[in-house]
């Protein structure tokens, strides 16, 4: 009898912890989700800005589309990610190029998957959760399959504002590859959105990429067809 109760309690607690873990991943995904924003990206080395880009980005579910508005040499370039493929539209030739998914994004410390990453919930499962107090938890995540860019990732999560604070990405060998700091959470439609991302490449010191989001909207009216290859070149 006592054993049965103990086993039932274990199952109940496991189930509850799974639900709780899933909630954290869902909250993480929600904190990043906005259907429109203006992005400014700056690449720094030794505290000197090497390049910058400005983009408009649209998102719907797991599809994202970007259009470059600055600098002048990149203006009009567009990118589309439908979570399986990545394409770039070049306005000078009206050509669409297919890009490798794991390529660095425009030479930054971010990869295409970092910026256009769609879902923690789909890509990771929580191994452990550590409570740091003051509403901060640390989530230890493991990739669900080899297709995911980083085998392990550790996320410091603010449970009160429901936004990440810091994320560390590790390779299969356990080496720290990248660290992302999330700053300046702003309230958009009742939810906080981290409006600043600072990406530090751990394998190359003194380099970082800063991304600033503004004019954020959680919902737009773009139809699904806007996020297709056909619409990208039109």
């Amino acid at each position: 009898m006592k054993t049965s109760i103990a086993i039932s309690l274990v199952y109940l607690l496991t189930g509850l912890s799974n639900i709780l873990a899933d909630n954290y991943l869902e909250q993480l995904d929600k904190s990043f989700y906005a259907e429109y924003a203006v992005m400014k990206m700056e690449m720094h080395k030794d505290n000197k800005m090497m390049r910058h880009y400005e983009m408009e980005y649209y998102r719907q579910g797991d599809k994202m589309r970007m259009e470059f508005t600055a600098p002048a040499t990149e203006k009009g370039r567009r990118m589309l990610n439908d979570n399986t493929s990545l394409w770039m539209y070049l306005p000078r030739t009206s050509k669409i190029m297919k890009l490798p998914f794991k390529q660095s994004f425009m030479g930054s410390d971010a990869s295409n998957t970092d910026l256009m990453r769609m879902s923690f919930r789909n890509d990771y499962e929580i191994e452990t959760v550590s409570n740091q107090g003051k509403g901060i938890v640390v989530l230890y995540l493991k990739a669900k399959n080899a297709e995911v860019a980083y085998d392990k990732t550790v996320v410091e999560f603010d449970t009160r504002k429901k936004v990440p604070i810091k994320q560390e990405m590790y390779s299969i060998s356990g080496k720290l590859i990248k660290t992302i700091f999330y700053e300046n959470p702003i309230l958009v439609d009742g939810l906080y959105f981290p409006s600043t991302m600072i990406i530090k490449e751990e394998l190359q010191k003194n380099t970082e990429t800063k991304i600033y989001y503004s004019d954020i909207r959680k919902k737009t009216n773009r139809p699904a067809e806007y996020f297709t290859l056909g619409a990208l070149k039109r």
């Binding site: 690449m43 203006k75 493929s85 000078r92 030739t93 297919k98 490798p100 998914f101 930054s108």
Partner: protein
Amino acid sequence: MKTIKRIVISFILVLGLASNISLWSQDQSLSYQVILETKGEYNNLDRKSKINPDNWMNIGDFAALSQLYPILQFNSRSGDLATRLGVEANLRSYNFEKDSTRLLIQELYSQFTFKDKHYFVFGKKRLDWGSGMIWNPTNFFIQKDPLRTQNRLEGIFMLNYSYLFSESAISIYLFPDKKKENFKAAIKYDYSKDRIDAAVSFVEYGKYQQVGLDLSYGGNLFTFYGEGVLRNFSKSYKIDDNNILQIPDNRKKTFSSEFVVGGSVVFNMHLSFRGEYRFREDYLDKSQIRLFENQLPDNLMIWDAISVSKHTLFASFDYRDTYSRWSANLRTFYDPLSNQLIVSPLGVLTMNNFQIEASTIFYNNKLSIHNFQSTILLSCFF
């Protein structure tokens, strides 16, 4: 004919402007860009060239080309309806000579979009078909310069309707021409799912037809693509086994194929490789190349600086710095039947408002006009 042309251009402009202005109170934008390209070129000629013996073509050692591209786009959106008027002009001048200045309208079109599903285009617009980076046999209308694929090309006058599904699109094209026999029509179906893109196209050109197929696959660190056509006409000259030159219109009207296969690999964040192979069934074989060489320069119209035969190979290594500000590229073209070989290093510096390209093209074959050509191209973006 000039009057008709003026009427058509005016109609496109009025249609585009009117639709934009009528939606003025809604979401609208005007975007513009001006690009100035200035190219300086040095030609080191082969005086013993079979194509150009003693430089009878009178090619100068130095040449310059300036091109100014003003580009305008009016966009407006009101609910489910979006409109666009696109204009791109090209003002070009050779060797900075006033008499050589030409104005060309590269694009002038109105585009109407309904619910982001229905697209109507009327006017002159660039058409990009095919996944190949260097060669696109499926693109019946416009071919790139293999030695500078990023050139801004002239569009083609068209009426186009496209319907977009969630994973595919169907497009119908009409290409009117002042000569009735040059009227063309086309239909194209594009499909994209998971990592595969595919397209099937059909072009009707008077009594001639072309069927095309295009496939590409994108991996994490590589892409692979192929496109090919079957057509019952030729766009090229050929020399037959009796040493007689055949012009395109008189060539035998049997179906022949042309295809390209290629791919790219990313080794790391700096280094990548791209390769393509092209096959053209209706081009010269080895015996015909010998005939062609022996009859030069009489059969000059067959000549192509890159390749005159059925087979052409392209390979390119690209190295770029961490921030994509500069890149170094080594490109090679090789025709194994005619033994035409081109090796071209290229350096590109890209800053926020300008880009500099410096390249030298080395020609290593007897079927060449040059020993080498050196080019510097400065592009300014405003």
